[in-house]
C-alpha cells in the first residue's frame, strides 16, 4: 500500500500580477522503502509540490484550490495545523538544499538536534541529548559530544548536511523529503551524502522523495522518477525505463542536454527557449513553444495520461516521434 498518495494537487500563488500556477494538477504515489525522484528545471514546481501540502510556504499568497494528499490514507490537506504538526518533522521529515543557511546560526547544533525528540517523542532533555549524539555518530560525525556543543558556522557544508540528515532522522520518519540535498555540495561530498541516505534507507525502510535537477543524483539513488515541467507531470516511471525508453520529448531533451563524460561532445545540446510564465499558461501543453514535435492539439488541451508499460506513464499527444 502506498504510504503517500498525491491526487490532482494544485498549488497557486495569488500575486498582484495574477495567479501563478506553480503546481497544476499532479498525481503520484510512493511506497515504503521506495525512492521517488522528482526532476525538473528550476521553477517547474518540484519543491512547491512538497512544501505546499506540508504548509511550509507562506499563505497567502499560496492557495491549494484542489487536490488530496493522503498520508496512510488520511488527507493531510484536511488536517488542522495542530494535527499536521504531529506529522511534520515526525512522520514526514525534510532536508533542504542549503545546509549553510538551513541551520540556525545562533543556536548550537545540539539544541537544534534535540528539538524533534523533545516535541514529538516527549523525551527528557537528557535522553534527547544522548540520542542526538548517537544520531550524529550514525551519520559519520566523529566526536559527536563536541559537535553537539558547536555552532553551525564551525562546520563545513558537508558536515552541516550530515547534521541536517541526522536531525531529520532522529524521530525515525516514514517519509524523508530531500529537497536538492546535494546541490550545494562538492562532488565527493555529494557521493558520501547519497551513500549515507541509501544506507539509512536500507536500515529503516523509509520512503525518500528526492527533489533534484541533477539526473546523476536520480540515477544514483531513485527507483522511480517523475518528470515535472511548469507545474505539470510529463512522465512517470522506473528510472531505468525513463533513462532509456522515454516516451516524452521533454524527458528526452532533458537527458540529451546532460553533460556526459563517456562520449566526446563538442557542444552540450540545450533545449531552446525558456520555461513559460506560470501566470500565463493556458489549457494547452506548457512545453508547446519549445517542443519540436508539437501539433495543433497540443496548444488546445493538456494530454491525459497514456500508459506505455506497467508503471510507465507519459503525458504527450504525440505517440510516435523520432
Amino acid at each position: 500500500m502506498a504510504i503517500l498518495e498525491i491526487k490532482n494537487l494544485k498549488a497557486h500563488f495569488h500575486t498582484r500580477r495574477g495567479v501563478v500556477k506553480a503546481v497544476n494538477g499532479i498525481s503520484y504515489s510512493i511506497e515504503p522503502g521506495q525512492t521517488l525522484g522528482i526532476v525538473g528545471e528550476s521553477g517547474s514546481g518540484k519543491s512547491v509540490s512538497q512544501l505546499s501540502y506540508l504548509k511550509l510556504l507562506p499563505s497567502p499568497p499560496l492557495k491549494i484550490p484542489e487536490g488530496e494528499v493522503l498520508f496512510r490514507g488520511e488527507n493531510i490537506l484536511a488536517m488542522t495545523e495542530e494535527k499536521l504538526r504531529t506529522i511534520r518533522g515526525n512522520k514526514i521529515s525534510m532536508i533542504f538544499q542549503e545546509p549553510m543557511t538551513s541551520l540556525n546560526p545562533y543556536l548550537t547544533i545540539g539544541s537544534q538536534l534535540i528539538e524533534p525528540l523533545i516535541i514529538h517523542l516527549k523525551k527528557s532533555k537528557r535522553d534527547a541529548w544522548k540520542e542526538a549524539c548517537a544520531a550524529l555518530s550514525r551519520v559519520g560525525i566523529a566526536e559527536p559530544e563536541k559537535a553537539m556543543k558547536s555552532y553551525p558556522h564551525e562546520f563545513s557544508g558537508g558536515m552541516r548536511q550530515r547534521v541536517m540528515i541526522a536531525m531529520a532522522l532522529t524521530t525515525r520518519p516514514e517519509i524523508l523529503i530531500a529537497d536538492e540535498p546535494t546541490t550545494a555540495l562538492d562532488v565527493t561530498v555529494q557521493a558520501q551524502i547519497l551513500d549515507l541516505l541509501r544506507e539509512i534507507q536500507k536500515e529503516t525502510q523509509m520512503a525518500i522523495i528526492l527533489i533534484t535537477h541533477d539526473l546523476g543524483v536520480i540515477a544514483g539513488l531513485a527507483d522511480k522518477m517523475v518528470v515535472m515541467y511548469a507545474g505539470r507531470i510529463f512522465e512517470e516511471g522506473p528510472v531505468e525505463t525513463l533513462f532509456h525508453q522515454s516516451e516524452h520529448p521533454y524527458t528526452r531533451a532533458l537527458l540529451r542536454s546532460t553533460p556526459r563524460v563517456d562520449v566526446l561532445q563538442d557542444k552540450i545540446p540545450v533545449i531552446g527557449g525558456s520555461i513559460p510564465d506560470l501566470s500565463q499558461v493556458g489549457q494547452g501543453c506548457p512545453f508547446y513553444e519549445r517542443c519540436e514535435f508539437r501539433t495543433d492539439i497540443c496548444q488546445i488541451t493538456f494530454p491525459t495520461s497514456r500508459k506505455i508499460a506497467h508503471n510507465h506513464e507519459t503525458f504527450c499527444h504525440v505517440e510516435k516521434f523520432q
Binding site: F96, S102, L103, P105, Y106, P116, Y151
Partner: protein, 306 residues
C-alpha cells in the same frame, strides 16, 4: 574574544579621550565671549581679580596643561558661573538624576518598542501591524516638547492621575520617563519589526517549521536572538542619547538633571562645566558602545573580535 581584546579596546580609549579633551578645550575657548562677559559690566579691577582666580591670565597653552594635570587627578575644576561649586559636585548631584530618568525611559522604550514591534512582525499587514507602526511614525515625528505638554495636559491636568512636575515620589518618574522613552520606543518597535521580518524569511525558520515547532516556539527560540540584534546595536547610541538628550524633558518637568547644565554652560561659556559634561558624555557613549559590542558576541556566535 579574549581579555586582550577588552584591554586593547580600553587602551584605544585613551588617545581618543585626549583628542576630545583637546578639541573641546580649544573650541570653547575660541568661541567669542567669555564667562565674565555678561551684559552687566564688571569693573576692570574685579575682572582682573576674577581672571587671576581662575588662572585665565595665564597663556592658553599653560591653562590647557593645568587642566590636563587636574584632570589626571579627576579634578574637573571650579565652575565659573556657579560660585563656590566645583564641576565634580555639580555632576555628582545632577548626573544620577539624569541617569535614573534615562534608564527608566530606556526600560519603557524597550518594553513598549519590542512588544509592539514583535506583535507587528508576528501578524504583518494586519490591524496589529498597522496600528503600532502608524503610532511609531507619530512617535518618531513628534518632538518631546509636544509629547511632554500633551501628556501633562491629559494625565496631569484633565485626568488628575499624575503629578506634572518635580522629582520626589515614584509617580514623578512616570510622565517624564514616558515622554522621553516614547520616541525611542517608536524607533525600537520599527527596528524590532524589521529584524524579525528579516529572520522570518530565513531558511532556518523554514527548517524549524519543518521540524514541527509551534509558531511561539519558533519566535522565542529561533527568531528572538537574530531578530533582536538590530535593537542591540542601537542600544549603545540610544542609551547615550537618552541621557544626554534629556534636556527638554528635564525642563518641561522641572527635573534637576545634568541636561540643564550642559546647555547652560555652553551658552554662558562656563568653560569647566562644558569640559566636564562633554567628557562625561563622551565616556558614556564610549562605554555604551563597548558594552554593546561585548553583548553582540554573546548573542551571535559567529561574531568574533581579534
Amino acid at each position: 574574544m579574549g581579555l586582550t581584546y577588552i584591554l586593547r579596546r580600553l587602551l584605544t580609549m585613551i588617545p581618543v579621550f585626549l583628542l576630545v579633551v583637546t578639541l573641546v578645550f580649544f573650541m570653547i575657548r575660541f568661541a567669542p565671549g567669555g564667562p565674565f562677559s555678561a551684559e552687566k559690566k564688571v569693573p576692570a579691577q574685579v575682572l582682573k581679580n576674577l581672571e587671576a582666580k581662575y588662572h585665565m591670565d595665564e597663556p592658553l597653552i599653560q591653562q590647557y596643561f593645568r587642566y590636563l594635570r587636574d584632570l589626571s587627578r579627576f579634578d574637573l575644576g571650579p565652575s565659573f558661573k556657579h560660585s563656590n561649586r566645583t564641576v565634580n559636585e555639580i555632576i555628582a548631584e545632577a548626573f544620577p538624576v539624569s541617569m535614573e530618568l534615562g534608564l527608566i525611559s530606556l526600560c519603557w522604550a524597550l518594553l513598549i518598542g519590542i512588544s509592539a514591534g514583535g506583535l507587528a512582525a508576528l501578524k504583518p499587514n494586519t490591524f496589529y501591524d498597522y496600528i503600532p507602526m502608524s503610532l511609531s511614525i507619530l512617535g518618531i515625528c513628534l518632538p518631546t516638547f509636544v509629547v511632554g505638554p500633551v501628556m501633562v495636559l491629559i494625565f496631569g491636568l484633565w485626568l488628575n492621575w499624575l503629578p506634572v512636575a518635580g522629582w520626589n515620589s515614584w509617580q514623578d518618574r512616570l510622565l517624564p520617563s514616558l515622554t522621553l522613552g516614547f520616541a525611542y520606543a517608536a524607533y525600537i518597535s520599527r527596528l524590532t519589526r524589521g529584524g524579525f521580518m528579516e529572520i522570518r524569511h530565513q531558511d532556518f525558520i523554514r527548517t524549524a517549521r519543518a521540524k514541527g515547532l509551534t509558531e511561539t516556539q519558533i519566535l522565542l527560540k529561533h527568531s528572538l536572538r537574530g531578530g533582536i540584534l538590530p535593537v542591540v546595536s542601537y542600544l549603545g547610541p540610544a542609551l547615550a542619547g537618552i541621557i544626554t538628550g534629556a534636556l527638554v524633558t528635564e525642563t518641561i518637568f522641572n527635573i534637576p538633571g545634568l541636561g540643564r547644565f550642559f546647555i547652560e554652560s555652553a551658552l554662558n561659556r562656563d568653560y569647566t562645566v562644558v569640559m566636564g559634561t562633554s567628557l562625561l558624555y563622551f565616556t558614556l557613549i564610549f562605554v555604551c558602545n563597548f558594552l554593546v559590542d561585548i553583548f553582540y558576541v554573546l548573542l551571535d556566535p559567529r561574531v568574533k573580535y581579534e
